[in-house]
């Protein structure tokens, strides 16, 4: 308990090129996410270059997931991520500090409500997808039946 004060034991920090290559995204995208405040590099060199931690990379993966899987735009993703950040922050200052339990309760409440909103939309999407799959399976089944019927013309 207490490895380092303000420096979480980051693994290797990557320059923007390496990070981009590892993630399979463009450097431009990473700069863009930074510009929007979606992604703040773990540190920057005195000269102003971005250095990305593994946690940063994970965050980018999450961004892409929210994009491709849920079809959220970057503004919506910002909301989701800010929420998750607050939850994490609250858990960090958990038994710590006396920042008023009631206040914390309030924040947590808000976050939970928002997450449940997200959950609902995700659930709806999954349900719709299931229906879609059933439909597809029906089509495929009919197609396969057709093919089988032609393989054995006379039973």
């Amino acid at each position: 308990m207490g490895e380092a004060r303000e420096a979480p034991p980051d693994g290797p920090l990557l320059g923007i090129g390496a990070a981009a290559q590892r993630l399979g995204v463009s450097e431009r995208a990473l700069r863009y996410y930074h510009q929007l405040g979606l992604l703040v590099p773990a540190s920057t060199t005195p000269g102003g270059q971005r250095r990305f931690s593994p946690a940063d990379l994970a965050r980018v993966e999450r961004i892409r997931e929210l994009q491709t899987l849920l079809g959220l735009n970057l503004d919506e993703i910002a909301v989701v991520l800010r929420n998750e950040d607050r939850m994490a922050e609250i858990r960090l200052t958990w038994h710590d500090e006396r920042t008023s339990a009631a206040e914390r309760r309030q924040l947590t409440q808000e976050c939970v409500v928002l997450q449940e909103g997200l959950r609902a939309t995700v659930e709806a999407k999954r349900t719709a997808l299931a229906g879609f799959l059933a439909d597809l399976d029906a089509r495929i089944g009919r197609g396969r039946a057709f093919l089988a019927e032609q393989d054995e013309p006379v039973s």
Copy 2:
């Protein structure tokens, strides 16, 4: 058998304004879909105005579904729809005509393969969504636990 030759018993045909309103999309979108060949109105007036059948409306709903649910772009959607159209067409000329059974078999085979490709991507998406939901539930669970713990400070 033989209600009308080239006129399937369409219900009411709608003008583009009514169709758009009923579907909750813009007239521009409908014209755009038509322009791309995604949506061909059931008929057009001698003066060149589009008249949409219920089947056309269903098609638009499917387009939107493929957009929002699967995140496909209109080109990809065109592929999917053309496929489905061919399957339907084959089923229509089913016991009819002598357009070579082998040929039909070939087409069906192709369609089934494509549909299965789509199925795979949809399935993958659903799986990913399930993982996502589990993650969300975990977060929400932790939040709720926090709140409950504060409601009963001493057990």
